[in-house]
């Protein structure tokens, strides 16, 4: 369950990054549709956070430690919304670049989460 969710969130994050990267390439700021995309990715990360905590509550142990696991779950959840808020303040292509970078960072976090959980 968690592994699938990690994969889906990671792929969605990369898609978001490509989409916002495309907007930046065309010299456009983030628009309503981009924010809907960010919301979808953020919801995925939130579901992942909840599922992760439920797994912990059931007594399952991440391979590399509970603290690190929870820290990464929280980081993954905060990542895209934080970038989204910054792009609200920067209504140029650079706002789009920032969200694209946020998507890449989230994808990296997902790979780490996969390792931390232990496959």
């Amino acid at each position: 369950m968690l592994a699938v969710l990690t994969l889906v969130t990671g792929v969605a994050a990369l898609l978001l990054a490509a989409w916002c990267g495309w907007a930046a390439y065309r010299d456009q700021p983030t628009k309503d549709w981009h924010f809907i995309g960010m919301a979808v990715v953020s919801v995925l990360a939130l579901v992942q956070l909840v599922v992760g905590i439920v797994q912990l509550a059931r007594g399952e142990k991440p391979e590399q430690g509970t603290t690190i696991f929870v820290a990464y779950l929280l980081g993954a959840f905060a990542c895209v919304p934080a970038a989204g808020f910054m792009s609200l303040g920067e209504r140029t292509r650079w706002g789009s670049v920032t969200v694209a970078a946020g998507g890449v960072v989230l994808a990296v976090l997902e790979v780490r989460l996969y390792d931390i959980w232990g496959g």
Partner: protein, 143 residues
């Protein structure tokens, strides 16, 4: 880069703002590095400091430098710009020194730092970030 002229105009109107345009991306990346380096070093120093004291201390130091640079970028102004420039230079020196050190004498580092192997574990962001930040900060002055 067609937007180059537009940015210059923006920075001319508000010469003290460092977070506009590419600055947004820099603040974001520095913010990510702050969270990464600080949380990592807090965890490691609190739980397993004896394993690799040097590496964890250096990670904490890196976190502090990142935090200070983020603060100066957000704050803006000529003084902050200069302070950020100095810190970015220090950061670059740090990355290059620690990066070389980890390659030459791996035994001193039983565990990785943020700056190990020039930041390879962080997609080389640690070495690219100060370079782009110095470029941006220098341009913010001439604008």
């Amino acid at each position: 880069m067609t937007s180059g002229e537009a940015e210059v105009v923006v920075t001319q109107e508000r010469p003290t703002r460092l977070t506009s345009g590419p600055g947004t991306l820099l603040v974001w990346l520095y913010g990510v590095m702050v969270v990464g380096a600080v949380s990592r070093s807090i965890y490691q120093i609190a739980t397993e400091f004896d394993r690799a004291p040097l590496a964890y201390t250096l990670s904490a130091l890196a976190g502090l430098v990142y935090g200070f640079i983020t603060y100066t970028l957000v704050r803006g102004g000529e003084k902050a710009r200069r302070a950020a420039l100095v810190c970015c230079a220090a950061e670059l020196v740090g990355v290059l020194t620690v990066g070389t050190w980890t390659l030459v004498d791996p035994s001193a580092f039983p565990d990785a730092t943020v700056w190990s192997d020039y930041g390879m574990g962080y997609v080389f962001i640690p070495v690219l970030l100060p370079l782009s930040a110095i470029y941006w900060l220098r341009r913010a002055r001439t604008a």
